[in-house]
Symmetry: D2
Subunit: 496 residues, 4 copies
């Protein structure tokens, strides 16, 4: 069985020392091993990045961008293979993996535009004969630490733009499903990145701590759970690094009485159960305003869910696949159990799904829980599974209060036809990404991704325009040329 | 011998009626015929563009951009074939044709970023509860009329961005060398443009007049000579069309006494003689400040020019090739003759170059003329040939006055090491594109190309950010939602 | 009785030669005379502007802006006097004149931000060691020609920004009501403008023609009727000037069946009758979708209009005042007559209003005409009077077709609560300024004002961000410093 | 003797409890007392800000800006009084205080442009029928903690923009010289700020800690020394607040052999000794390249310094005034002593200046120390006094290495005429604000102020465009309207 190593200074690096199992969650079997980098290995990667930095920084942005164009092309050429690698280790169905990859490619596309995005501001005559302008210069070596749930997309949120801005990069992907991540990084290499510009180290806490503490690392981008995000942000910050750390979520959709319920149910189904709900933008709570709306929603949802298919990643007919580990599957089931115990109504129960031929896979079926209240455990915590909660409220204000009171503020949505309700909601809700009839309001690659409250630590959002600011440092130049130089002296050079 | 037709509504259209010879200027022989579209054929193209417009306009910008990415890839794959087609009909050496194509591709790259470039400005609460934003909407059918000297690049200045912005396009390329232009347009088609989005009609004045007068055409981009540019601008404008028309040039470089003369001579050589000087950015006048600088310049230039090689397009060892037609060759020779007659000093004479094996090609060798004065014919007019004039002045101010007094204001350059001289020059000179130690200051694709004075008619420059404005129309929306809608009424739906 | 002269080179200039009466339209009496500048006087103003240009251009933008701050302050201090001067010659009620002035002041405010707005784009390393940036340089002498209906606001759309950008200005205001315009210009002078930076010449066609033909004038901004706008645009353009010419309008509001009819009627009343409808953004056609909506609209409008008060400008209790001249009053009455003749239904008839104590004023009362059809004269032409037409249609698409078929495309509005209807309308309608439940969608000063179709000739809109582009010319600098300069030689200066 | 209290919820608040002396450093005498707020008082201010927030947030930006215009006007009207208050407690000469105030006013001016600066990005059709846009929403209650050296300017870097963006503010100024700060805040109140929008609390560590720990405070801006800045940044960050903390500096100017030495000496004098060197942008180290340049610099500087006048704040003939406290005076003298001990050459010695009639003032005269080396205490630490060090090096690279090796990276300058040297320097130096022949490269108010390395903790710079980002939070809205709404149903309403 293969052991996955690292990518350091442009070559595969098998590493030595500790390893960890990688599972195929569709079967529950061990599919391989991943090497866990020790401190020295991570430092080797940092050193490679540091060495590659000066030349890369001085490479014109348009030339750096040209490698991103080739990278995009290679990603498209190898899309099916990538999707297979994702599915095998993460469990998501191929169509979903292809979708993930596509969003990742869109971030590469945005990085292609870096010559435009790096433009500074030029002011003539800030004083008499004085000009000023700003430059956005790269930081140096930058690190990324990414989660299991989007092994292709989240790394692509980070390093294409970081690198296009002139930085060099060390990526520490999730040790649960690192194979597709490494495969993609090798395509970036193939696209023309000089050795050391992009490095990948697999590992666990030891690798992470090394990245957080090494003074050569200038900035850290992280995506994961809120407790870890907070720890990483605090440690990186106190080490003088720039940091953005994205954490957890509990995304609510308000269903207004005037909403088109067929549209609601259709769009909610994908948003709640896609990728088994293992998305930080998964829509996990529907807040129905009025019992009429609530009853219609639950009835239609129940019917719709009858056709939902959970199963192995490789069958395109499945809607979603297994959870990432057996332990996580048990945790999700535990949340459903707690809801039942605490008095909620389990309308559709996915706790013991029959997946023929894959009995040992880490599956939980689509689950719908009605009459959830804010005190319940299943409401307070992020489940990260295929579970949709329904909360019933009496007014839109009550629904909004519920959302604002939750510790997370990643995404949210309102279903309505009414312009005024939509505007009031989007204006006032304390959430960073707001959908109007869009249950997964993930910003496109040319906007930026960022939650509010405890969903993001840091000033700047991920990808899009904010990423350019995150991966560069502003420098302001003020210039005045003393008079009486060659211009005047040249007056006398005429041999009359 | 083949007759080149048109590309209308996604398919080759052989056309009928008048034709015209296409020459291979390296041999002086006829290489083919091009069909000259009559009014009805042009109207057919316009109709195809008009029909394709509604669906194309509603295609999301990111999806339109994706075709541009593929187009770029195809252009790179077919670069050598394109360079050969350019060289065959235009005469420029392959390395030069590759350079032209590369600049064209960079415009396709910029068009790939159209989702970013089309962003409007959003203002919350322009009044209480009132929001306003701007959208940049496409115009509809847009036309481009392009010159012989850059059959690949200049069309690529225009239609990639026009199309990426949501317009549909009718291109009328030069009838002197249309083959590469048509070939490239077919690659755009292959990249995924729906039929009718890009149409190419070959033709002459009849075709041009049809484009200028047809009310369905919303805007016209033109590059050519100043008299034609002015006519086109006036006619298009009075027909209610948006127009930008780029004309001729006479680009001067000031050589200051402190300049590094080796650097000057090296960079001037390419800028003056590359592409036989058939470039609107060709550097055709060197203005030396002081006789010391002038003498050094002329001496070193003369030596440098001994190694300059003029010859057939297909030999990569040549520096530049023939002129476009025999008539143009005679005209350029006539300018040199006039300089001689009017008292200038022909330092290097390219009037009768020996090009073995290509005796009938339309060649003029690199020519250097010293002691030119502003009254001379060769100074007043654009030569568009491999001829570099030297004017001697006594001061930088005198040099600048010379430039400002010329009717054209396309490009210019100063050679100096001195920060103050450079800043004074770039601030005050009445020219649109200014080089500091850069003799061909063609803006990169993410800036815009535009001369001043009689070098450009219109408010907005070509390609880059200005092209986005040229190919779109601003719409401003102001929105207020009346209160007391579904939001309040939903308060009462709670069944208490 | 006073004769109003000009403001040239910082001082009052009484002028000589022809004069014309200025009326007080509230009484119908002659209130004064205005001097009509001959060619020589206009040329004197142009010469003053030209002479002031070089020093003004080199004044740092922040310092130019500082004068705008003082100008704003002076306008606020003298607001009541200005409103009185407007009312006296134009006829609009003081509260309306104050509103006009406020919108004008907002344009001065926007010009205060010119240091921000003039920022160019700076790109490091467009090639190895090469930097490029753009500057937006002033044009030189710029002219403005403004209409009678906004003697304060429309000039303030133009010259504050033109001047803040570094241009000098010659303004030719309407000869109907020039006193407030001149008064305001003198406040600008008092705020600190150097002599010659802002000049005002009163006049008629002779003055206009001089401005259009003089080669020292680089650009012309015009607001007026469409036939004149078109003439001015063509003449200025063919003289090589930059031009933007704003013309007439026929602004429609679609009233959807779901609209809140009280809100509609309240907001429409001001939009249709304010300033006697003498606004290019006046809402003059209500298109009701379905007879239910139409009947409700007409009924409620009729009731609402019973309280509408037409009268003299100086009585704040009046809603609107007289028309500008007796001739114009007769023309408006003629339009109402024609509607009656052609079969429309005159619901409220303002043709013979009783205005006690002002029997000779040029008054027309608020008029509501139902069952208007597109063929009628009153529909085809711009009335520019207090007349609201109602057209009845069967669907929203029919309503939109009506709007798109009209030659003008200035402003438009939809009344609805429905988000989808609003988005479809604003996306597709061929009009430049779109209101959603906002019947007068005049963009705020930090957006730009521009109609589509025959409502605006030129590429760039008035005021806001577009004005910065209109009043400046892009210059692109590309800079490379030859190596081996003082930096290396300085290595050897160390006395070891 | 008066005791200075606080400004809370729009009114003076005398406070109770602890107080501290305020000195007049020109005389060394106690001039008054300042109240030191306890926790409860600070919480009262926070509560007032929190209460004022909802209404202020919903006030249109243009209306918020209008208060800033009035504030600017009041500051200009009361400039002399403010300068006097600054001088009395800080010691800087009136002309210098006027300069400080002017830079502060320029930040108010920039805040006037907030409607432009708050514009979000609007994207049509991010998917079919889907639109997305970003809004930059205020944070809530924001705190500022400011240093003694710019009691007017630094607070004006912060709260005008914070407030213009829709936040409410609690300011904790320096307890050394709070009177002018409070006076200015009252002018802001007078300009029209609603009560509670701007609050000022005087205090010390207790007040600071309360601001850092209170969960209602969303963000903290700080300017002071590096150790405190780091502490504040870490504490605010770990409390989940946004923070920017500006610290100390050691700003070097490289003097190249080709520099115009008269220009160098003239401009360095003000940069080194102005405000007694108590500026974080003070130019405190001149690095001369080559002994020829060094000798010329020291000679001319020595001569120039003979005319330097230190003395009381109220005499406009003085060049600079006393240091802030007796303790600080002793510390600065200690640095000079240490330089002498460690072998540097005290060329001009300001340790015991004679200031007639003010013998007890905290004065140190202008001091020039040659042959300083990097190991010396005076080089390693920030002196914050009127002391200019000269370091001699053999090459420009050596000079740059020196700068990059220092822990601070606030400002720096190069003196040269050579374009290449300037470009190389500004590109590569690890400092945030770079001057080319400008020894105090403080960015103008429409650019942003930010050092690198340990001179700034946080991602975003102070004032200018970055301040808008710092004081707002990005929200991204994604909107789709379900079809088949009122638009289609309205089709059937036609009563045929």
């Amino acid at each position: 069985m293969p052991t996955l190593g690292h990518l350091i200074n442009g070559t595969r690096h098998d590493g030595k020392g500790r390893t960890q199992d990688i599972f195929n969650p569709s079967t529950g079997e061990v599919a391989g091993q991943v090497r866990l980098a020790d401190k020295a290995t991570v430092e080797e990667a940092i050193a490679a990045a540091q060495a590659a930095y000066p030349a890369w920084r001085n490479t014109p942005p348009a030339k750096r961008a040209r490698i991103m164009y080739r990278f995009k092309h290679l990603l498209e050429q190898h899309a099916e293979e990538i999707a297979r690698l994702i599915g095998q280790e993460h469990g998501k169905i191929c169509h979903d993996a292809m979708g993930e990859l596509q969003r990742g490619i869109e971030n590469v596309e945005y990085a292609c535009g870096v010559p435009e995005l790096l433009k500074g501001e030029y002011s003539k005559n800030t004083g008499p004969g004085i000009d000023s302008w700003s430059e956005f210069q790269p930081l140096g070596v930058v690190a990324g630490i990414t989660p299991f749930n989007f092994p292709a997309m989240v790394p692509l949120w980070m390093y294409p733009m970081a690198i296009a801005c002139g930085n060099t990069f060390v990526l520490k992907p999730s040790e649960r499903d690192p194979t597709s991540t490494l495969y993609i990084a090798e395509l970036a290499q193939e696209a023309g990145l000089p050795p050391g510009v992009l490095n990948v180290v697999n590992g666990d806490k030891e690798a992470v701590d090394t990245l957080l503490d090494d003074p050569r690392v200038q900035a850290v981008s992280f995506v994961g759970s809120t407790p870890i995000a907070e720890t990483i942000y605090t440690r990186a910050s106190s080490n003088g690094k720039r940091c953005q750390a994205l954490g957890g979520a509990k995304n609510h959709a308000i269903v207004m009485p005037d909403a088109d319920m067929d549209y609601v149910v259709n769009s909610l189904t994908g948003a709640a159960f896609g990728s088994s709900g293992e998305r930080c933008m998964a829509l996990s709570v529907a807040v129905a305003v009025g019992d009429t709306a609530a009853n219609a929603l639950v009835d239609k949802m129940k019917t719709q869910m009858e056709t939902l298919k959970v199963g192995v990643f490789s069958d395109e007919a499945n809607d979603f696949g297994p959870l990432i580990t057996g332990a996580h599957r048990d945790k999700v089931v535990g949340f459903i159990d707690s809801a039942e115990t605490q008095g909620a109504d389990i309308v559709v129960d996915g706790r013991r799904p029959r997946v023929e031929g894959a009995e040992n896979g880490f599956f939980v079926g689509g689950t719908l829980i009605d009459r959830v209240t804010p005190e319940m455990t299943c409401y307070r915590e992020e489940i990260f599974g295929p579970v949709l909660l329904v909360v019933r409220v009496g007014s839109m204000d009550e629904a909004m209060q519920l959302i604002d009171d939750h510790e997370y503020g990643n995404g949210t949505c309102i279903y309505t036809r009414d312009g005024e309700a939509a505007r009031y909601f989007s204006d006032n809700i304390q959430v960073g990404m707001v959908g109007i009839n869009v249950p997964l309001p993930v910003p496109v690659s040319y906007h930026s991704f960022g939650g509010w409250k405890r969903s993001l630590f840091g000033d700047l959002s991920a990808y899009g325009p904010d990423a350019v600011r995150f991966y560069t440092r502003r420098k302001t130049i003020t210039q005045r040329w003393p008079s009486a130089g060659v211009r005047e002296s040249a007056q006398f050079s005429f041999p009359s």
